[in-house]
């Protein structure tokens, strides 16, 4: 069976709420142990763990583009020429370029991840991965692991500080990255767990990764480059188009009655998202509102809002900048959470308690379907991450994007790749107008007297094309290289080889 035929045998997406009809599937967590073995080198780890052809190895991406651990493992695989491995990192960044060689040599033949960009994405797009790329969501990955759909043989968990009992913590050490939320499922469900650290201490006061699940600790010189792990600061955009979008978004949020005591919100770390947060903050202060929580990847901006008393707590699955890491270490109201608690549809996730979420889009279509996985050529350049999870969970999901980026209209007749279904997208805010998903009659009713520039998505589409003209459609390749898995595991779209 070739890849195209195989993909057609996988369960297809049939609705964002269909998971509710299926009972949660849980396999047993791994056995716990009170002992942990210390390893001195990666070769020793490979020998000890008997890493061999066909195994599944997992990693997390909290060290982002500063990660050394996945690369260390990859180098050892390359030396030993182990074949047909299944890699399951929570994300893949440009720094993981060595994985391209492993793909080309068929050392790695299947990949599960939630987000990828850079050379590995290009290599997969060129059709070089023997089997499939499964592009999951941040909530879908833990669901896939806990259900046994993604059994992990060995989890290599980079951990900035580890104690002698095998407990781990991400907030301290040379490669401190804060919350290690995406590693929790790997820790609890992988057959074998190796914490890889460059900072071994006698005893940790605060533990995030419980040593009872840890089989091995591997101490290395360095697990990552601090400069690539966190950005110094994340900044509000100065771009006037982005600011206009942000101001209108905040106005909309206010008019929808979402700025109220107990409110909860999430935004990304991009400049426009932070500008929305800044504008919402102004409304909160003006109205004397105190929110319950802000969640997601946490930035300094939200840390400052929480410190200013605008939120009771921060729920943090990953820290985006140094300020967030510092807060994670010192602020008792800054709580870590697992990827499962964040977005797993079966884990009563935090996303289900969000009043609103601000999300981006590389494309959106007239049915409000959103693409954040590929560009309009079909080239892989991202992935859902928490997009689909938060869009489904939040009471109001808002896409903010320029209507036209450079010369290209962002609204399409049909998006190149669906990552988040239109049924979960409520609002699109652009610099030239705001479109409400007609399914959200309640929102339209609330906005019936609004002076905001409300338009239908068809009107915005026509407006965009009147400026840009109709872009030529490109010929597409028929060879499937991967699939986009919705958070319930069904296939919402396919990824194709690019020319």
């Amino acid at each position: 069976m070739n890849k195209n035929e195989f993909v057609n045998t996988l369960p297809k997406f049939s609705g964002a709420n269909e998971y509710k009809k299926v009972e949660r599937k849980l396999v047993n967590k791994k056995a716990t142990s009170s002992t942990v073995k210390f390893l001195k080198s990666m070769p020793e780890a490979f020998d000890e763990l008997k890493i061999s052809d066909g195994m599944t190895l997992s990693f997390h991406h909290h060290l982002r583009n500063g990660d050394y651990v996945q690369n260390m493992v990859s180098e050892e695989i390359l030396k030993r020429d182990i074949k047909d491995l299944h890699y399951a990192p929570s994300s893949i960044f440009p720094t993981n370029e060595i994985l391209c060689k492993l793909i080309e040599n068929e050392n790695v033949t299947t990949i599960d991840t939630n987000y990828l960009n850079g050379p590995v994405a290009v290599t997969i797009g060129e059709g070089k991965l023997k089997n499939l790329l499964y592009l999951n969501t941040h909530g879908g990955r833990p669901r896939k692991i806990e259900s046994g759909e993604l059994p992990i043989d060995v989890a290599f968990i980079a951990c900035p500080t580890v104690d002698k009992n095998g407990n781990g913590y991400g907030g301290k050490g040379n490669a401190a990255c804060g919350s290690l939320g995406y590693a929790h499922s790997d820790l609890e469900y992988a057959k074998k767990v190796v914490l890889v650290t460059d900072n071994l201490v006698d005893k940790l006061d605060r533990v995030e990764l419980d040593g009872k699940y840890v089989d091995y600790v591997l101490v290395v010189d360095s697990i990552g480059d601090a400069n690539g792990i966190v950005s110094g600061t994340t900044k509000i955009t100065r771009d006037p188009v982005g600011l206009k979008i942000a101001r209108n978004t905040a106005k909309l949020i206010d008019e929808l009655g979402l700025v109220k005591d107990g409110m909860s919100m999430q935004t990304g770390a991009g400049g426009t998202s932070l500008a929305v947060a800044a504008c919402v903050k102004d409304y909160m202060i003006k109205k004397g509102v105190k929110g319950s929580f802000a969640s997601g990847g946490i930035t300094s901006y939200f840390v400052d809002m929480q410190k200013a008393g605008l939120f009771d707590e921060l729920k943090d699955v990953q820290c985006f900048d140094i300020g967030a890491v510092e807060s994670y270490n010192t602020n008792p109201s800054h709580h870590g959470m697992s990827g499962s608690k964040y977005g797993n549809p079966y884990d009563d996730p935090v996303v289900d308690y969000l009043d609103f979420v601000i999300l981006g889009a590389t494309e959106i279509d007239k049915d409000f379907n959103v693409n954040v996985a590929t560009d309009s050529y079909g080239k892989i350049m991202g992935g859902s991450g928490g997009h689909s999870d938060t869009a489904h969970g939040a009471k109001v999901s808002i896409i903010t994007t320029n209507l036209i980026k450079s010369r290209l209209p962002i609204i399409k007749e049909h998006v190149t790749t669906i990552t988040t279904p239109g049924e979960d997208i409520d609002v699109l805010v652009t610099e030239r107008g705001i479109a409400i998903n007609p399914k959200r009659v309640d929102l339209l009713e609330k906005l019936k007297d609004s002076k905001l520039p409300l338009k239908t998505i068809d009107e915005l589409y026509d407006l965009a094309l009147s400026i840009t003209g109709v872009p030529n459609t490109l010929p597409t390749h028929n060879d499937v290289v991967g699939v986009v898995q919705y958070r319930d595991g069904t296939i919402i779209d396919k990824l194709y080889k690019i020319y």
Partner: protein
């Protein structure tokens, strides 16, 4: 009637593409100071094709040409005069230049069979122009005056400050001349784009002298300008009450009456009316 005007360099495609989205009452596509001498041709072409092809033009399209004391203005006018523009902005305006510009525009409008008459916004930015401003406002096509404080300060050999004491006289002169002929008195741009508080203060100063609009050099300045150059909520409420009371007393044949213990006569009614016209035009009511 304007509250704000926004300068956009004529050779910047990305900014041209978004010129209509920032909420400026008029957008000034610049061919003069923002465009290097080596870029003039490019800018002319870019503005020409932008105006000819873009389906969403700003509320008012203004093009700042190079001064009539340069060798560039003729090519500027050849490239951009069409029904797609509303207004020409003339730098270093003098009465003699305005007369000459009117002649050229009249010829081009006739040759090109334009369906409308192009207006002119002179920039008063020379000491001599300040002295001439009472005549400038009487020139054909003049629809308002922009005070250009940077060049004026240079001409006056004074330091330009945020407080703006050095332009008090010019602000008064421009505002007085414009108000006398019911034209827009447009205040000079506030050049520190990273000082929103300074911008607010500067707007307040300009308003106190009678300026009724202000130029922006960055889109991020527009919200502040548009808000501050609109009548305040308190003024609008007062004007609405005056309007209502005027109608009620007029029905009884009474032309002068008292409201809140203050006499309301024709000048007060006219002031209330001006406030309401502006508030209605910009959607504040």
């Amino acid at each position: 009637m304007r509250r704000s005007t926004l300068f956009i360099p004529g050779n910047n495609p990305a900014m041209l593409q978004n010129a209509d989205v920032f909420g400026a009452d008029a957008v000034i596509f610049d061919l003069e100071d923002a465009v290097n001498i080596t870029e003039k041709d490019n800018a002319r072409n870019l503005i020409h094709y932008y105006l000819a092809t873009h389906s969403n033009l700003p509320m008012e399209v203004v093009v700042r040409i190079n001064g009539l004391d340069t060798t560039f203005y003729q090519k500027d006018l050849e490239a951009i005069v069409s029904d797609n523009i509303d207004t020409i902005m003339l730098p270093k305006a003098r009465v003699e230049y305005l007369v000459k510009l009117d002649e050229i525009l009249t010829r081009l409008e006739k040759e090109r069979k334009l369906t409308k008459k192009i207006k002119v916004l002179p920039i008063v930015e020379l000491a001599i122009s300040v002295l001439e401003v009472n005549e400038v406002v009487k020139c054909p096509r003049v629809d308002g005056v922009l005070l250009g404080a940077e060049d004026l300060s240079s001409d006056m050999e004074v330091t330009r400050t945020k407080e703006g004491k050095e332009i008090q006289y010019a602000r008064s002169a421009v505002a007085m001349a414009c108000k006398a002929y019911q034209l827009d008195a447009i205040d000079t741009p506030f050049t520190d784009v990273n000082d929103p508080e300074g911008l607010c203060k500067d707007c307040g100063n300009a308003i106190s002298y009678g300026m009724n609009a202000k130029a922006a050099i960055h889109p991020n300045q527009l919200d502040t300008i548009n808000e501050l150059f609109l009548p305040t909520e308190k003024l609008i409420t007062w004007a609405l009450r005056v309007e209502k009371a005027t109608a009620e007393y007029a029905a009884k044949g009474i032309g002068v009456f008292s409201l809140d213990g203050k006499m309301i006569d024709k000048p007060v009614m006219e002031r209330a009316n001006k406030i309401l016209v502006k508030a209605r035009k910009f959607g504040a009511i």
